[in-house]
């Protein structure tokens, strides 16, 4: 495993895979991920979906397993702590640190401040949910709270990433593959406007409990809490009704007003990302478990492998994680 290095001395890009469940964590580590990221089974993480995530004991086991294979575990505490209930987020941070997490991925300013004081030695990464996309925003978190790495929003160009990395305030992590938020992450309330539940407050976006499909004549309507997000003529495959990926009427047009139902894939620009000074690549998709596209998705770990794995069997293993 050529890419496994101690933080701070690493030269190649670290590959960080999603671990929605303990078995996904093992699979990702076995496949050769340099690190995995995961969260607790509650509202402290932004993938608070049924059937996903870890309890305290599972995290301890997961960290022990990952460390036995020289892989790191990054724990996402990336929602915004609910007022009056800060203790839930504090406990999650305590459990993560106690389990041996290599880093906490945090978005909430209050939680970052608390964690920095409670665990001065703990490595803290700034979650993409904090939407720090400029040099002064990143310096703010580095200088005030000692943040060691920032996860950049998915909408930046390679040149913009390079300019931020060149400032050298901290390590830069970018999303390499998966869901694409076209809104500034952590600054989008569309989901709570439609359903009452949002990424920031509840760790969910366009939650499944509010989804309904209805066959209406030849159309299949996909709705979120009663709002029609798209309609599919007979036989056309229907997508999950994620709010910002829907078709709407606007200004006399019917179109994907915000974004097409597409995903992010950086396979073509991986060398450019490395030249830009990116330290780590993150694969989105803790909610996807072991199921991931065999077609497009499988291409990324292969490409990443050129830089981060360097071993054919590891690439094959990584590919196997992402089979749908």
């Amino acid at each position: 495993m050529t890419s496994r290095t101690i933080y701070g001395t690493q030269k190649t890009m670290e590959l960080i895979c999603p671990a929605g469940t303990p078995s996904a964590l093992r699979a990702a580590v076995e496949a050769g991920s340099d690190a995995v990221y995961c969260g607790f089974r509650n509202e402290t993480n932004a993938r608070n979906f049924p059937g996903l995530n870890f309890d305290d004991e599972e995290l301890r086991e997961g960290v022990a397993y990952a460390h036995s294979r020289a892989a790191k575990v990054l724990v996402a505490l990336n929602t915004f702590a609910r007022a009056g209930n800060f203790g839930i987020w504090q406990r999650a941070a305590e459990q993560a640190v106690s389990a041996g997490a290599d880093a906490l991925i945090v978005a909430d300013l209050g939680l970052i401040d608390w964690a920095r004081k409670a665990f001065p030695e703990q490595r803290i990464h700034l979650s993409v949910q904090a939407a720090a996309a400029t040099v002064p925003a990143i310096r703010f978190y580095v200088e005030h709270f000692g943040v060691r790495r920032v996860v950049l929003p998915r909408v930046l160009t390679v040149d913009e990433i390079a300019a931020i990395a060149a400032d050298g305030a901290c390590e830069i992590e970018v999303f390499a593959f998966g869901g694409l938020c076209v809104m500034a992450e952590g600054r989008c309330l569309l989901s709570s406007y439609a359903t009452g539940e949002s990424p920031n407050m509840n760790g969910v976006c366009s939650p499944a409990a509010h989804v309904a499909y209805a066959q209406e004549g030849t159309d299949l309507a996909a709705r979120l809490n009663g709002f029609t997000i798209d309609r599919y003529p007979d036989g056309q495959p229907a997508a999950y009704p994620t709010l910002c990926k829907g078709r709407f009427s606007c200004g006399g047009k019917t179109m994907h007003v915000f974004e097409e139902p597409t995903s992010l894939n950086t396979i073509e620009i991986l060398p450019a990302l490395q030249r830009a000074g990116v330290s780590a690549l993150k694969i989105e998709g803790r909610q996807r478990g072991k199921a991931y596209p065999d077609s497009d998705g499988a291409r990324l770990p292969r490409g990443v492998g050129c830089f981060a794995f360097g071993a054919a069997n590891a690439i094959a293993g990584a590919v196997s994680i992402y089979r749908r």
């Binding site: 209050g110 407050m201 709407f248 606007c250 007003v257």
Partner: protein, 293 residues
């Protein structure tokens, strides 16, 4: 209860923008006026000639003037402009954490685009110079109460009137809709003075686009909730400008806050206004923001 007129979030023409503030200065019974461009820096050059006169007029009328800054600064020029604004004589309203960094601890207002979800975040921001914090629109009353209970140096403000801003994006949706790029947008957002409606394919009113911002279709109107919010420690309400008669709206809020009318009478005044969307208040009740509870 103090009343704040929030910044105009839409691309109004210069004369319309200046006339609006002239009327606010002379006729609106409000305490503070926040003005300046929040959504798109390309709109700013059209304002810079007029803003000096507008500020002077507002201050002569006894209004406390705060200068707003961008919600999503990305270009070096935009960041530099925030620094220049911050270096002036007026308190500024920050809407991105980059601006907090640039202020270096100077007193400021925290706008609704900054994520303040709990009392610990409030404490951090107070320590950095926050004197007013306008909370994010999605917070329920319970959270507002818990946050306000811990305030020391900052007043707590909530949006009481107007379309709530729901998201910002690197992409300009007005430009996208017109098959233009953000850089060559021809300022098409100036056609939609309260935002451009985004309806579902079944004709439901849903959202509104405004440049890089996505807004609620529904217009937040808090009336009877203000008693609870005042009791919770909220000391300022924000009225976000629309093309309806904002003097009438602010006068009705002044009357409600001073006990001259009740919430039903406020609602009656507001319902007479040509609002761009249905009246909603779900967020403060802990429900979907799109509903009226």
């Amino acid at each position: 209860m103090q009343i704040t007129i929030g910044p105009v979030l839409f691309n109004w023409s210069n004369p319309e923008w200046a006339d609006f503030y002239a009327r606010i200065a002379e006729e609106a019974p409000v305490d503070r006026v926040v003005l300046g461009e929040v959504i798109c820096s390309k709109r700013t050059p059209f304002r810079s000639d007029a803003i000096g006169d507008v500020v002077e007029r507002l201050e002569r009328a006894g209004k406390d003037v705060v200068l707003a800054t961008l919600a999503l600064p990305t270009l070096k020029r935009e960041i530099a402009e925030i620094g220049e604004t911050a270096g002036g004589d007026h308190m500024i309203e920050v809407n991105d954490i980059a601006a907090v960094y640039q202020l270096g601890g100077r007193a400021h207002v925290v706008g609704p685009f900054i994520n303040v979800y709990n009392e610990h975040t409030l404490k951090v921001l107070e320590g950095l110079g926050a004197r007013t914090v306008c909370l994010p629109p999605e917070l329920p009353a319970q959270s507002i109460r818990a946050i306000a209970a811990c305030r020391t140096t900052a007043d707590i403000e909530v949006l009481a009137f107007g379309r709530a801003p729901l998201a910002v994006s690197a992409r300009c949706y007005h430009a996208r809709l017109h098959n233009l790029t953000k850089d060559s947008c021809r300022y098409v957002c100036d056609q939609d003075r309260d935002g451009l409606d985004v309806d579902t394919l079944d004709g439901q009113k849903f959202l509104a686009v405004n440049g890089i911002a996505t807004m609620a279709s529904g217009v937040t109107v808090l009336g009877r909730e203000l008693t609870t919010l005042a009791d919770a420690g909220v000391s300022r309400i924000r009225l976000s400008p629309h093309t309806c008669d904002m003097v009438a709206v602010s006068a009705a809020y002044r009357d409600l806050c001073d006990g001259r009318i009740d919430a039903a009478e406020l609602m009656a005044v507001i319902q007479q206004q040509p609002l761009p969307g249905a009246i909603v208040n779900g967020y403060v009740h802990g429900r979907a923001g799109s509903v009226f509870a």
